[in-house]
Symmetry: D2
Subunit: 357 residues, 4 copies
Amino acid sequence: MSAVSGPRQRLPVAVLGATGAVGQTFVRLLAGHPWFELAEVAASERSAGRRYGGAVHWIEGSMPAPAAGLEILPCDPAAVRSRVVFCALDAAAAAEIEPLFAQSGALVFSNAKSYRMDADVPLVIPEVNAAHLGILAVQRERRGWPGGIVTNANCAAIVATVALAPLHAAFGLDRVFVTTMQAVSGAGYPGVAALDILGNVIPWIADEEPKIEGELPKMLGRFEAGSLVAAGFRVSAHANRVPVEHGHTVCLTVGFERRVTSAECIAALDSWTVPEEIRALPSSPARALVVTHSADRPQPRRDVNEGGGMTVLVGRVRPDPLLDVRMVALGHNTIRGAAGASLLNAELLAARGQLPS
Amino acid sequence: MSAVSGPRQRLPVAVLGATGAVGQTFVRLLAGHPWFELAEVAASERSAGRRYGGAVHWIEGSMPAPAAGLEILPCDPAAVRSRVVFCALDAAAAAEIEPLFAQSGALVFSNAKSYRMDADVPLVIPEVNAAHLGILAVQRERRGWPGGIVTNANCAAIVATVALAPLHAAFGLDRVFVTTMQAVSGAGYPGVAALDILGNVIPWIADEEPKIEGELPKMLGRFEAGSLVAAGFRVSAHANRVPVEHGHTVCLTVGFERRVTSAECIAALDSWTVPEEIRALPSSPARALVVTHSADRPQPRRDVNEGGGMTVLVGRVRPDPLLDVRMVALGHNTIRGAAGASLLNAELLAARGQLPS
Amino acid sequence: MSAVSGPRQRLPVAVLGATGAVGQTFVRLLAGHPWFELAEVAASERSAGRRYGGAVHWIEGSMPAPAAGLEILPCDPAAVRSRVVFCALDAAAAAEIEPLFAQSGALVFSNAKSYRMDADVPLVIPEVNAAHLGILAVQRERRGWPGGIVTNANCAAIVATVALAPLHAAFGLDRVFVTTMQAVSGAGYPGVAALDILGNVIPWIADEEPKIEGELPKMLGRFEAGSLVAAGFRVSAHANRVPVEHGHTVCLTVGFERRVTSAECIAALDSWTVPEEIRALPSSPARALVVTHSADRPQPRRDVNEGGGMTVLVGRVRPDPLLDVRMVALGHNTIRGAAGASLLNAELLAARGQLPS
Amino acid sequence: MSAVSGPRQRLPVAVLGATGAVGQTFVRLLAGHPWFELAEVAASERSAGRRYGGAVHWIEGSMPAPAAGLEILPCDPAAVRSRVVFCALDAAAAAEIEPLFAQSGALVFSNAKSYRMDADVPLVIPEVNAAHLGILAVQRERRGWPGGIVTNANCAAIVATVALAPLHAAFGLDRVFVTTMQAVSGAGYPGVAALDILGNVIPWIADEEPKIEGELPKMLGRFEAGSLVAAGFRVSAHANRVPVEHGHTVCLTVGFERRVTSAECIAALDSWTVPEEIRALPSSPARALVVTHSADRPQPRRDVNEGGGMTVLVGRVRPDPLLDVRMVALGHNTIRGAAGASLLNAELLAARGQLPS
């Protein structure tokens, strides 16, 4: 974590859907955050009115003490006053509630799929496509919103995108075959039943493959002439659930616009640099991308917490008999792939002085 | 299991490497076998001379009573008298020992990789390429062996091949992307350390990907004019270890020589039939290939024992955005993918009256 | 499974709560049952009216074909006509519904805790306390029911009771310390969340310890002079959930009314015999109790299916430095500990010609 | 971790058996240690002469950079020059090698069982029985060693002892029933085979129960008149292996010399204080003992890293129907139960200026 000049005083922020698994990760990552202060938590009507500490079945480590005393608010802009809002609601609720907050002047950092693929909604990984935030001005004008919606991608799509970004920049992706082995925490809590996954693989995750196939080209596309233009490569995905707590492992087989060797790919991955503006953000890891050199790494249980869960690891970069190169990527699905991703987006706008206050 | 006219009386058979995981599976499957009688067990010098029941750490269910009393012989044709020999030795030992048995007149049914890719060694799945056994005559002539070596493939390769055989026959495979999620029993016993795999994925299995990439085209090739001619399609594989006891799950993405729909593929899989000669063998399952129709199947823990572990299940057959079709295959790695596979090969030769006696 | 003269033709039976985990186990065990025919399935209002095959997320193997076509009835004696009713409802629903069926003339075989400890309700393991069924007459008279309720115990309590029954009969139990390590299937489906139990132990199961402490003495008590008299020993229990699919492992430390050696205990366990009347029942295993002699057995994954899941295994019988003897018991929680237990109770009454028809 | 005046400059220390699982934990905990500097690593002849970084299959996180460059020495006082030696050898090797180092003037901090129960060898948990270190003088005199051996207990015994120490001090233990559920890391690496423990419980750990039963009374005894006097209470143990990575969970049922309530026990646990001398040691956690108050805690996966793995958690303190009180304790087996325990012992002697240099 590097120092950068952030807001003069900690900005009050809210978490919508704060009782669920991703919501809890937001609460955990915001504890002691140097720029943001968790001022409000909101959840469904069922929990509203109760103390956060009493209403939540906390699923990892111990609940941060300051959060425990917060009263749970309804997910309503009339009740939530923070202008910076992290949204961990499910897609159906987010589809309805996020626009209300944007309309009310809040900037919503969303994990939900609801608006990710909209033409005027940025789908951002700061290290990869910070320029996409330019579309926010279009969004505000087109929708008449004083606030707005900034999204981050599906957790598996984020891991794959960080791994592929240096390669796309260097060589131009043509096609990508993706097979994921995803952790149970990606399904929320209670999420996957133990009887379904103990000693088992579920070769299917509802709605996951289309997200991966659509979000990668959007994220690796360009913002130009006031539009987001998706990259031209195509993606094919298999999504699997495996008995792992945290960390999505992603097997990638990649073809480029021209013939590329695995040595060229490793060099491109190793030499990839993140702009200083991004590296200086509080949640930015020392290295956003690490190339592992052991034959059997990366592995979720052993590597998932690298960089506080914000580092994507890439290993086994090797030639492919059919396309150009094969490799394995790994990232923490609830941190880099969800709450940490939103947080980093908000930090970037904070550093640029573009957060509402 | 169907009835067919087998040998008049049960043939004595031997298992080499009988103390290991695959060796134990042979011993288990041979208990009560209608055609074969486990007459001899052999293992490394370290165990030779001891009773099987006292020397083996039995890892699944209970040891069949008749096996317990057998004395463990050395893996030496001078000590082992059966002319039908199942080999569960590791590759280094098999490379040395199998030819000695073939030379001595035994027919060796081998799980080892040592000779699988030799031009004159059949690599057989009876339902798929029984004709390849024709190469045995060439092998005997060329090597001057009164016996011979018949091999079965790598466990993951067998699962993929059964799933792909009907499609290759119907449409002609052009290229196949394979990502496996393999059970720990595939690594033998003690094999994978618990500390390496509990709640983890290991995205690498030593030497596995080249086996898959090489063995599939050989198995789906033709025997013609006294030669085995590999099929022309190419394969790219990612091999992963997952915390599953038994059952390799294989994600397949397939391109054909011409455009093919997933409906055509499902029809080809559903209508695939196994010759009556094969279906009548004792270890042949009611259905060698089953197409599942639930969105989330097949799953190893739930489906691996279908057909006594000899059935391969295929599910999620769906269009692919880059090639033609995607699907998931599953099979039992130590039964269909190892000991049961050898046994079925031996049964086929027994039914044809081609076993030495 | 042995032959005995059962009913002339298969009796129609119903399963209440047929959509849940225990309900599904009833449906599975009843498929092809020689004496009973699954005629009706019933569940909550939410499922009523749908076909069983379409309404149920089947969690183990494949649904028996005949069950799939049944229409789900409401749990109401006006709708369910079978006079033999297996109840897999949760305690709250069972408390209300079981008496309605008993009142209507049905004999209810219940897994629920609701009436287990009532003075006039038998809590039965046929091999252990078949005589307790004598209380049914008292129950009918006292409650004015033409039918009645027969219960089986908590799953962990059943395993412990089968293991202790021969010792209590031989030496008289004085006190028993119980620590359980219970499988996730004991919590039903979806039951335990994967995020709660993967690589974890939960040292608590709601309401489990009092059940174990109360039900053991009732089951090992006597039926005399028209009353059930609990045995005088006392029980202390720790209940834990572990990441195991099926099979409750129970550590037992036992003190008797007099000093007893572990050799005496092993002899008592080994020589324990089940009356021929019970052994002849269709669901009765070849041996209700097996003493294992390996240092590290019994183990749930390896031993749970012994006797079709109806055998209790006892191992590591050894002296205790504080009391008399220590040992480990294991049994299948959804078969011997739930659905199979009810079924065996019903078979015993069928064999005695005491089922309503 | 608190500040205390330690050695003026970092003391060079050696780790014997540095390549194994506990040895690696020593290396990890010593990285950046304020008082000790890992100067030497030693292992069996097989590894000696190689660089640590090249010889070791590192099993958790990443190897500390300084350790990687060390040459592995033989476990021989002629080769190892550090006077402070941490020993992670197995019992057979430790039995032979530790006295050689003690004879040569080194102070050996040992994890091995070899000398734990010797009358003149301290078995120390600093928070519990620091006074036992007084026996070192006796040991040196009796054995003629310029150095000596200080041991820490079996991992499960340490967890239980920390939990019981406040109760023994307050009320006097009379008898203790222990049932453990132990993590796989307790068996070293490769240790437990995945095929043995995935989805399973092994109700036996070689040699574990006698250790627990013997070491608890020794640790909770007194050092008086130049002798270690074991406490008078008796212990009965069941030891089980469960599919957990780190963290031994221990169910305890306790009887005291007089009747004691669970409220009294909770008060004694809550009010237990660690002497300032101990709390100030670098590896000392903020709280050596934490009483949890959720019904379902402590849990290994969620609580094992409390206090950097040096805190023991106690929960579910409740009355027992047979003795006085029941509870559940949890601690990190390779940190608090092994390497961290040795380290804390060494730190205490360092703070007292009693380490050889």
